[in-house]
């Protein structure tokens, strides 16, 4: 379904809305048909709704695809819901099961034919289904990885030990040269303008201004490092969809997602950048991550600058102890 795009970050809301619209449309059609005296048989309406939700919507619309076991749970829940709907009153229940009874009784030629067909096809179908489920299947094993494992208390980078609780980004400074998160927060890429710079003419806001000084100049230097080193995986949008993201597993982190740098302290990011994939504890799968230990490629200053750039560009603040 390429004509209806799923927007990243809004997928759940989009899907709930879509399903709600579908149910509404179905109810309206059902109601108006009933008013017109051509009401849909309960039996077929129930089967149609179940097939639509479970076979069609959950299987083909949702992306990335959900595993069969999860779909089976949703399918059962949907079946229960539909069962409650069709058995709301004794009369409705009679109406629902009438087609089934009719086929069982086989009084007309048509129902006789359907009954015979079902009697033969059901065992064959069951055989095929059971055979399929007995065939050894080799799906990719599910391996659960901790994306943000617990950090160590200290980390040693380029011969110097950093205490993660007390270390601070030396470039997050106000014009007086003091560490000042409020100042830097005021100069990140503005959220209300779609994450774009506030004022391209103001040297305090524009890292490309030749007069840019202090914080905003360091942001530019961090950006230069990012676009020489990091974008290959983390992408030009910082959304983890770089040139080679398709080749790697685990996939590169998406910094624009509220679940990554936005909920981490700057020193945690510093530790992760400096030590890379190989420096992760076991639950983070250090053997699989291609994230470089950046201490092999960058200086400590460069690491701090690139971290500051990542916050500036995504418009997030690092988490603090307060």
């Amino acid at each position: 379904m390429t004509w209806l795009k799923l927007v990243e970050g809004y997928m759940p809301m989009q899907m709930i809305t879509e399903l709600a619209i579908c149910i509404l449309v179905f109810s309206i059609i059902n109601y108006s048909l009933k008013r017109a005296g051509m009401g849909l048989p309960k039996f077929w309406a129930g089967i149609f709704v179940w097939c639509f939700v479970n076979l069609f919507y959950l299987k083909y619309r949702i992306y990335p695809p959900i595993p069969f076991s999860v779909r089976a749970i949703y399918g059962t829940v949907a079946a229960c819901g539909i069962f409650m709907w069709v058995s709301g009153s004794q009369q409705e229940w009679e109406e629902f099961k009438r087609p089934i009874i009719n086929v069982l009784d086989a009084k007309t030629g048509m129902t006789k034919f359907i009954r015979t067909a079902l009697l033969i096809l059901l065992p064959i179908g069951l055989w095929g289904f059971a055979y399929n489920s007995f065939l050894p299947s080799f799906d990719e094993p599910i391996e659960l990885r901790t994306v943000h494992p617990a950090p160590p208390a200290t980390t040693k980078v380029h011969g110097k030990t950093y205490v993660l609780q007390t270390a601070a980004n030396p470039y997050r400074v106000n014009p007086e040269g003091k560490y000042d998160q409020a100042y830097s927060n005021a100069h990140i890429v503005s959220q209300d303008m779609g994450r774009l710079m506030k004022d391209v003419k103001n040297p305090e806001d524009n890292p490309w201004d030749p007069n840019a000084k202090g914080y905003i100049k360091h942001v530019r230097e961090g950006g230069e490092i990012f676009f020489q080193n990091c974008h290959f995986c983390h992408g030009d949008n910082l959304n983890g969809r770089g040139l080679w993201a398709f080749a790697f597993n685990p996939i590169p982190a998406n910094f624009t997602d509220a679940g990554t740098i936005a909920q981490l302290q700057e020193t945690f990011v510093f530790w992760r950048v400096a030590k890379g994939g190989i420096g992760l504890p076991g639950e983070g799968f250090p053997w699989a991550s291609v994230m470089p230990p950046w201490e092999q490629h960058l200086t400590v200053d460069e690491i701090w600058k690139v971290i500051m750039f990542e916050y500036w560009h995504t418009g997030y603040y690092p988490r603090t102890w307060e």
Binding site: K5, V7, E8, P64, L104, D105, L122, P123, I124, L126, F129, A130, Y131, F134, L135, P136, F138, E140, P141, E143, R145, M193, G194, L196, M197, V200, P207, W208, R220, G223, E224, I225, F226, F227, Q228, N229, H231, F232, D236, N237, R241, G242, L243, W244, A245, F246, A247, F248, N249, G276, I278, G282, W287, A288, V290, P292, P293, Q296, H297, H313
Partner: protein
């Protein structure tokens, strides 16, 4: 019947234009170049007509309205947040990221844009061509899709800024010299991709000499290694088998219209000309259908060096497109590589019918960017793998597109088992490129160096954990040649014909030779033809348990891959790598698989009988 027209009027106008304007970079020599190209390709045998103003399928387009100052100002903010990092402060394609990129970011100054609906040499349509480029990105380059990141208004704003401030040599508002002849892509009736059309297309690509650059089988391996773009940077012809990497694929890789458009309007700034003036619309569809049919599908159709017969054409048409992952715009990756059992000898070449027993899998390859020397350009971005096994051995067939066969000719100072080659001068590309760079040729950039590397061997390697049976899942040795305490079994093939077994214990530790096992390895076939390597290797399922990975049935065995392109200067740690995959030797089907379903089916028949009897009794009771 003058279906093929050589449009003299058009070219003459261009020649005059060329002499009288203050020339921009892209325009200088363009007319003359086009003319010579037209002569070369069209030959002298075509009839000339004076009344023809436009090539078939084109119509007069309208000039875009100049953007408002507010829009340009808003676009400037977008540009200096998102685009400047690669395209640079003056839009000269020389931002901080540029020197490590190939292809290099676009230099906007000359107004030369690759993907257009407008006739060759003309400026693109801003609200169609450039808007789609920003929206969908340019696959195969670092330009991403900006949809979902920038709103539609922001994308239009940034184009207003780029087209009015950064395109410096030409102007959309220049009524004297700029014309817009637009390909009527939506109005032209496509020719359906039938076997006849595909076969005709395969003949036309020879007649039109497409194969001179794109290669006999269209893998971009023609006589084209030294091609350059307008700025003097090396450039390579498209590989028709990877439509998802076509710059103009617009996140709709298998859509033949994209190919028809590129073929009709050419790729400005590159040696790829427009064929609008010397092919009919119908012929262009045939060619587009053929090119689209070559893009990798569920079945690997052998096109026999481009000599497409009726049978091959029918097979090409019948093959189904592969699923494209909408999150990456590349073919979907399945991390399980199946291997199937065959009786007797393993296949001796790629034509053995038993390869059809098992699915081929695509292994996505990315640059090795974890440790020095990092590899910022991968000429090989995927490898296809198939595997079969018998009672004693397992066979792997690797096939991958590589435009150049690279076999090392000069002696090197290091031994094959050595991995730290920095001492021998193998270094990574320096970052270069700052906002103040001013040399337009960027001689130190990766794009300028692409054809100048010392040539090493092409190669392919794969690794298994040694004693993987004892690893507590999901623990694995490090993907990069293992680590201390978790050694790996490495099998490495190089284009000089060597196939060797090594033990790896870390990314920076020299390999240990495993000479006993090396003797058991066998290169069944290693051949480079028409831009593709086919390498078939076999190895015993079992060796020495302590040193060689035991390949067992029905188990998930971690495996990952490495590939080197010698013409890319790949050697040692400079290469492309894959993520971890799992090799699974599918065991033959057991008896239980048939018995239990039969019991279940018989049970269901009994239940049916019971229900019917009960119902019948009930009705009797009622009556």
């Amino acid at each position: 019947m003058n279906e093929i027209q050589f449009d003299t009027g058009h070219f003459e106008k261009r020649m005059v234009m060329n002499e009288t304007t203050t020339p921009g970079y892209g325009r200088r020599g363009l007319g003359a170049w086009l003319l010579s190209c037209g002569l070369l390709i069209g030959g002298l045998g075509f009839a000339t007509t004076s009344h023809a103003e436009m090539a078939e399928g084109f119509a007069e387009g309208s000039r875009p309205a100049p953007p408002s100052a507010e829009q340009i100002e808003a676009g400037k903010r977008v540009y200096f947040t998102k685009c400047v990092w690669c395209h640079g402060v003056d839009g000269a394609g020389d931002g901080p990221g540029a020197d490590r990129l190939w292809p290099r970011p676009r230099n906007f100054n000359a107004g030369t844009f690759k993907i257009r609906h407008t006739a060759s040499g003309e400026l693109p349509l801003i609200d169609v061509d450039l808007f789609q480029t920003v929206t969908h990105g340019l696959p195969g380059s670092a330009m991403p899709s900006w949809e979902g990141i920038l709103t539609e208004d922001q994308r239009r704003d940034v184009l207003a800024f780029v087209t009015s401030e950064l395109v410096k040599d030409r102007s959309w508002q220049d009524t004297e010299f700029e014309e817009f002849h637009v390909l009527q892509l939506e109005k032209i009736e496509p020719v359906p991709p039938t076997a006849e059309s595909v076969k005709r297309g395969s003949e036309l690509v020879k007649e039109m000499k497409c194969i001179e650059c794109h290669g006999l089988e269209g893998r971009g391996d023609g006589n084209a290694f030294n091609l350059k773009d307008d700025w003097g940077f090396s450039i390579q012809p498209a590989d028709w088998h990877k439509c998802w990497n076509f710059r103009g694929s617009r996140q709709d890789a298998y859509n033949v219209k994209n190919i028809f458009r590129t073929f009709s309007t050419g790729v400005s700034g590159t040696p790829m000309p427009s064929f609008a003036d010397n092919t009919t619309v119908e012929d262009r569809w045939h060619i587009a259908n053929y090119v689209a049919s070559l893009c990798e599908r569920d079945k690997d159709v052998d096109i026999a060096g481009g000599n497409v017969t009726d049978e091959i054409a029918a097979e090409l048409v019948a093959a189904q497109p592969r699923g494209i992952d909408p999150l990456t715009d590349k073919p979907k990756v399945d991390f399980v590589v199946p291997s199937k059992f065959v009786e007797g000898e393993l296949p001796a070449d790629e034509h053995d019918e038993r390869w059809d027993l098992v699915d081929r899998r695509i292994v996505a390859m990315g640059g090795q960017i974890t440790h020095k020397p990092r590899n910022f350009v991968t000429r090989i971005d995927d490898v296809w793998i198939q595997s079969l096994y018998n009672d004693t051995h397992i066979s792997f067939m690797f096939r991958w597109d590589d435009r150049t066969k690279s076999v090392q000719e000069d002696e090197v100072d290091w031994e094959p088992y050595e991995v730290n080659l920095a001492d021998y001068g193998i270094e990574e590309q320096p970052p270069g490129g700052s906002m103040f760079a001013d040399d337009p040729e960027h001689p130190e950039s990766i794009a300028a160096k692409q054809t100048a590397y010392q040539v090493f061997n092409d190669g392919l390697a794969f690794q298994f954990p040694i004693k993987w049976q004892e690893l507590p899942a999901p623990r694995k040795p490090r993907y990069f040649w293992g680590d201390e305490g978790f050694p790996v079994d490495i099998t490495k093939w190089t284009a000089d014909g060597e196939l060797k077994a090594y033990q790896g214990t870390g990314w920076d530790v020299d390999f240990d030779d495993r000479d006993d096992f090396t003797e058991e390895l066998n290169v069944v076939k290693a051949e480079w033809t028409n831009g593709r390597w086919t390498v078939i290797v076999t190895r015993p399922l079992k060796g020495d348990y302590e040193e060689d990975a035991y390949i067992e049935l029905g188990k998930y065995i971690p495996i990952n891959f490495f590939v080197w392109d010698g013409h890319n200067g790949d050697v040692g740690r400079k290469m492309a790598v894959s993520a971890f995959y799992y090799l699974v030797l599918e065991p033959p089907i057991e008896k239980e698989t048939y018995i239990y379903p039969t019991i279940a089916a018989i049970g269901l028949v009994l239940v049916e009988g019971w229900i019917l009897t009960r119902r019948a009794n009930r009705r009797k009771g009622k009556v």
